[in-house]
């Protein structure tokens, strides 16, 4: 099944990261020595690169950098640790284990990422091993949660069509397992596994899919079940759209070549939408995923990392080339894509009864941050629920939490706990706030140029005032904010989006499709809060007065001529 043809098509010499990977002996590097170095809480750049493959990377509290330097202290280094849980599904026991870990070794909160993963912040170097071990003891892993490999596979946590979800989730897990790195380094370093020193083992044995240099960049896969597009399937390198008839899964439409990130000032970088190229049966889907990953392995740009994502590989060689290459490697052809329809990419809050008779409660989690706050003991409440819930916990792609598969008997008890701890499904929040998404940014993210998660709620307060004035409080508008253009909160798919440029300054984008089917476009560059509000006020006013029945804001701004529609990333900058 493996196809090891290595096609080297490069524009220049391999980047230094390629060199680090090559030298790492399948992700070992000097990690063990770095963990032992007692005089610093940090790791070197090289080791930090490798740490990503193990699901972690180093950050520091950027708010404290200058102060600590004066105090003759190194920056407050800490590690983000991300758990890869396909489709974001955890059992109650796993939830309790993560809750304990969060309180023991982290800043005390659990973060739900925009890719349905759990993320911990503030783990100190000497607690890394204990933390990762705890995660593995709970039958979860951090391996390949970051790094140049296939990342956490997203899967719609669909509470409605229970049987379809169960099947789709099962296939997601199998793809995830299949694409997991096979190196023993993870076990050796974190779980005190036996050291395998087998220099004779060839590349195909060590890493049959990735080889010793792994992928040129990260690779993202998302699976969704229409009419919901909560995973933003077109933002994925490989998107799979479940096709089902009468509650039975028939297969998947295959979409390739999407991605969010870009670099300011370089129009050769852009967000792109994945395009549907055909259909495969469930049994074929692993093969499709593997071959797609391997094509990117062989053709992706290994010289310049910002051009290395799969979307650029496809745009460079052309979709036709890719389909041919895929078909050649598969030895069979995809079928013609099946019809499907998306209606939205947000979450539906509150209790919903699934087709299997079990209940699902979607809770609104602001910015995906689960912690106890004064007057809102969210973390404690969820812990108490986990203690009695016989179902599961599902992380949504919009950073919310679904308490899933609840029996009617438990539902009453959980409702009591919800009341006791004052937890909320967010229905009292405006529709704008419930559809808001932001990345972590300051103070921990090293790439942030501006605030995101810490600032968005303040901005929303002010936009809500406008919305309530014009009578649009119940209007769902996707609004997204990131601290940089790398795309963690999928900003290019926000009907209104802000990407940070400098403290307090953002580029403003408008016009994405409500169901994630169209990119947005830049409207204003480098603006602060006052200008943002001055722009939005008349625009929302006009929207309230002139909108057509059922028209979404993202569609309206195009019709009204504020921005042009962007159907392909190649037009994003035009």
């Amino acid at each position: 099944m493996t196809h090891n043809k290595s096609v080297v098509v490069q524009d220049g010499p391999p980047s230094d990261v390629e060199d680090i990977k090559t030298r790492s002996r399948y992700l070992r590097g000097e990690l063990e020595e770095a963990l032992k170095d007692g005089i610093t809480g940090s790791m070197s750049e090289d080791e930090n690169r490798l740490m990503k493959f193990h699901g972690s990377y180093m950050q520091d509290d950027r708010d404290l950098r200058n102060e600590r330097h004066r105090q003759k202290l190194e920056p407050a280094y800490q590690f983000m640790v991300r758990i890869r849980a396909p489709g974001g599904v955890l059992t109650s026991e796993q939830w309790l284990a993560m809750d304990r870990l969060a309180r023991e070794y982290t800043t005390g909160s659990i973060r739900i990422t925009t890719r349905q993963a759990i993320q911990f912040h503030g783990i100190l170097k000497w607690n890394l091993k204990k933390s990762i071990r705890t995660i593995n003891d709970a039958l979860l892993t951090t391996l390949a949660a970051c790094g140049d490999v296939n990342r956490n596979i997203m899967c719609n946590p669909n509470p409605y069509q229970s049987e379809v979800h169960a099947e789709v989730f099962e296939w997601s897990t199998r793809i995830s397992d299949h694409l997991s790195p096979k190196t023993n380094a993870y076990h050796e370093i974190w779980l005190d596994g036996e050291k395998i020193v087998d220099s004779n083992a060839d590349e195909a044995e060590q890493e049959p899919i990735y080889g010793k240099v792994y992928l040129p960049r990260k690779f993202k896969i998302g699976v969704t079940v229409p009419p919901t597009n909560d995973v933003d399937v077109f933002s994925q390198d490989l998107g799979l759209i479940a096709i089902y008839e009468e509650g039975k899964l028939k297969g998947f439409n295959v979409a390739v070549g999407g991605g969010m990130g870009m670099t300011y000032g370089d129009t050769q970088t852009y967000p792109q939408l994945a395009r549907v190229i055909g259909f495969c049966t469930p049994e074929q889907v692993i093969d499709v995923a593997e071959k797609t990953v391997m094509i990117q392995r062989d053709y992706g740009n290994r010289s310049v990392r910002k051009y290395a994502r799969f979307k650029y590989t496809i745009d460079r060689y052309g979709m036709e080339w890719f389909i041919n290459e895929l078909h050649t490697r598969l030895g069979w052809n995809l079928e013609e894509a099946r019809p499907y329809e998306f209606s939205h990419n947000g979450d539906r809050y509150g209790w919903i009864k699934g087709s299997n008779g079990k209940w699902h409660l979607t809770l609104y989690i602001p910015s995906g941050r689960i912690e106890d706050q004064e007057g809102y003991p969210l973390m404690t409440g969820l812990r108490e629920i986990a203690k009695i819930n016989t179902g599961d916990f599902r992380l949504s792609p919009n950073q919310n939490l679904v308490i899933g598969n609840v029996t009617t008997a438990k539902k009453r008890k959980i409702e009591e706990l919800i009341k006791e701890y004052g937890l909320t499904d967010g229905k009292h929040h405006s529709a704008l706030r419930r559809n808001a998404l932001s990345c972590v940014a300051f103070p921990t993210c090293g790439m942030a140029m501006a605030e995101a998660e810490r600032y968005l709620p303040t901005l929303l307060d002010k936009i809500e005032l406008i919305l309530s004035k014009v009578g649009l409080s119940e209007e769902a508008i996707n609004i997204r904010m990131t601290g940089c253009p790398n795309g963690c909160a999928r900003p290019a798919l926000g009907e209104i989006a802000f990407m940070g440029k400098a403290p307090g300054k953002y580029n403003m984008y408008l016009g994405a499709g409500f169901a994630g089917e169209r990119l947005n476009k830049i409207y204003r560059e480098n603006i602060g809060e006052e200008e943002i509000l001055n722009i939005l006020e008349p625009m929302l006013h006009q929207f309230a007065q002139e909108r057509e029945v059922g028209e979404h804001f993202g569609d309206f701004v195009i019709r009204a001529g504020y921005v042009k529609a962007v159907q392909s990333g190649l037009d994003f900058h035009n």
Partner: protein, 610 residues
């Protein structure tokens, strides 16, 4: 004292004569006699000795015949050593032949030959001798100690009366020398923290008595004694005349979230002409907390503007000023309570200091200050002046210097951990550390002097490897060591063991040490952060983990330095060194101890502990 046949070498007849004579003698007459007999005996000996002495007699010097005096000091921080040196200079000026030595360098088998022995010894911690006094102390108290009938001696004891075993080492020497047959040249003097006056008095007495001895035999002529001044340094400033140093920088070295606070102070020495070396200390005269002073004045119903005399010279200051700057009000001592008992109308205080209540007294002194005392034992009688006069002078606080003057001319850096704790229902604050933490801005001044510590010095040979063990603020002098070694491009290897609670917030001078490791100035650095791990780890655990390499370093001639807490750390580290010597060197415990003693003798094992 009544002479009896049983307690003296005299016959019944002699005893009776003596008992009639002695009570009639004035003190001067007694001293004269004592000197007379000693000198007679000595001059007799002199007459029988070799021609060497005759040669000396035949020189032109007015002080032709010298008497030999041995001055031994046991010193931890250098105070005793400084006094011993000052005494020796005086003696030499008076024509004595002086052998000045640290107790550790003194060959104890020559003790029998010594006729005049002057001892200056401090007491350390809970009544223990300072490091360099231990071998001599043990020898003297052992069965091997010789009988010393020919010896006359005197002891100057340094200590701190707030400790239970005040001046204990000096007292022990004094008692033991007497037991061994020695005779007191002049009585022992016990000095508290403000030792200058009492030490000068002792020196004067000793010199006078020695002189008398010689005068009586006609050996020394025409020598007069001036007041004893401790030898001044090159600088015009000293312990008694502190320099007002400007604060250049004052910051907290502990990161946010730490439950500790450690101030990094940079002081300007410009204009002071102070010289210092790594290992030396700075003495600071701090200021008491205004709030405490005001509570005290209010409680006593005093007038804060009333003038009081603050020293023997009669210098007057307002009461508030005096309590802020001149007197110690945060520590209670036994002598202080005994004297205040006379000023209190409260019977309870009198009872507390009465014999038999030592345990209660000790318990009372612990963790209380002057405010507690005046609150607990009112009503008070007597004048403000009477009260103030019995207070101890504000003692200076010593801090190990954290910088090298080679690397930073005209600057000195200090590392001061803020002391704050609750005791008897009230928050208590370390006087100096709290002043530095809360009331000292850059631009302001601090009264300070340089306190030389000759017992904590880098090896003279810069190639000698050094092993430094200094957790917490104990790391301060090692920052000075490494700055010095970096500045002088020393080639010797250096190994530092350091620890505190949390790496993230408590790693003092982390960036400095990281740079030195990177640049090779520091060959190795092992750290123990006790609260970052499940089991508490301390520096001694890290030493044990590296026992093989550490032993190799010792065998290669490395010098070992320990700085910091004495009670636990220094003790544990010492035992760990013994374990390592046993484990890696195959030595018995006795051999290991001897190995360390030997290192101490060679000045390869030095401690600055507190």
């Amino acid at each position: 004292m009544q002479f009896q046949v049983m307690n003296s070498p005299f016959s019944q007849e002699q005893v009776e004569l003596l008992n009639r004579l002695v009570p009639t003698l004035t003190q001067t007459q007694q001293i004269w006699l004592s000197g007379y007999f000693t000198a007679t005996q000595n001059s007799n000996t002199t007459l029988h000795t070799t021609t060497e002495v005759t040669t000396v007699i035949s020189t032109d010097s007015p002080v032709a015949i010298s008497r030999e005096v041995t001055v031994l000091f046991g010193s931890q921080t250098g105070n005793s050593q400084g006094l011993a040196k000052a005494l020796s200079i005086k003696l030499e000026q008076l024509g004595f032949q002086v052998t000045l030595s640290s107790m550790s360098d003194f060959k104890s088998n020559t003790l029998k030959k010594v006729q005049n022995l002057l001892i200056v010894a401090s007491t350390h911690g809970e009544g223990t001798p300072p490091d360099n006094a231990i071998p001599f102390y043990e020898f003297l108290h052992s069965k091997r100690a010789p009988q010393l009938e020919d010896l006359q001696f005197s002891v100057l004891a340094l200590g701190d009366s707030s400790y239970e075993f005040y001046c204990q080492t000096g007292k022990d020497f004094d008692k033991r020398l007497e037991e061994l047959g020695g005779k007191r040249l002049s009585p022992r003097v016990d000095c508290d923290l403000d030792y200058d006056d009492s030490a000068a008095e002792w020196i004067e007495n000793v010199l006078a008595n020695l002189n008398k001895t010689l005068e009586s035999t006609g050996v020394v002529q025409g020598t007069t004694l001036n007041g004893t001044e401790i030898v001044a340094e090159q600088s015009a400033y000293s312990r008694t005349v502190p320099f007002k140093a400007e604060v250049l920088e004052n910051l907290n070295l502990n990161g946010r979230g730490s439950d500790r606070e450690t101030r990094h102070l940079e002081l300007s020495l410009e204009g002071s002409n102070f010289q210092y070396e790594p290992g030396d200390c700075v003495g600071i005269y701090p200021e008491n907390s205004l709030a405490l002073v005001e509570s005290l004045i209010e409680k006593m119903g005093w007038n804060s503007e009333e003038l009081v005399s603050v020293n023997k010279k009669g210098e007057a200051r307002s009461l508030r000023d005096a309590l802020l700057n001149n007197f110690e009000i945060t520590v209670l001592t036994k002598p202080l309570l005994e004297q205040t008992a006379k000023l209190s109308s409260n019977k309870a205080l009198e009872e507390l200091v009465a014999p038999g209540n030592e345990v209660e007294l000790r318990n009372y002194l612990d963790g209380r200050d002057l405010l507690d005392l005046v609150q607990d034992f009112s009503p008070w009688k007597g004048t403000v002046q009477e009260f103030v006069s019995i207070l101890r002078k504000m003692p200076p606080r010593l801090y190990s210097i954290a910088s090298s003057s080679k690397a930073r001319p005209d600057e000195v850096h200090l590392t001061i951990r803020t002391v704050q704790y609750e005791s008897h229902g009230r928050e208590r604050y370390g006087v100096c550390s709290t002043q530095c933490a809360e009331r000292l801005e850059p631009g302001e001044q601090l009264s300070m002097y340089i306190h030389h510590n000759p017992n904590f010095k880098l090896p003279t040979n810069s190639v000698t490897p050094i092993i430094m063990i200094g957790p917490g603020t104990g790391v301060a002098p090692f920052r000075a060591f490494l700055e010095e070694r970096e500045e002088s491009s020393a080639e010797g290897k250096a190994w530092l063991f350091y620890g505190d609670q949390h790496l993230l917030t408590d790693f003092l001078y982390q960036l400095d040490f990281q740079r030195w490791v990177k640049d090779g100035v520091l060959t190795r650095m092992d750290v123990a952060f006790s609260r970052d791990t499940d089991k508490k780890v301390y520096v001694q655990h890290r030493m044990l983990e590296k026992s093989r390499e550490l032993y190799q370093w010792l065998e290669d001639g490395a010098s070992v330095y320990i700085c910091g807490d004495e009670k636990h750390m220094a003790h544990d580290v010492h035992n760990t060194l013994i374990t390592i010597l046993e484990q890696e060197g195959g030595k018995s415990t006795e051999e290991a101890v001897a190995y360390l003693n030997d290192m101490q003798q060679q000045k390869r094992y030095q401690r600055d502990v507190y």
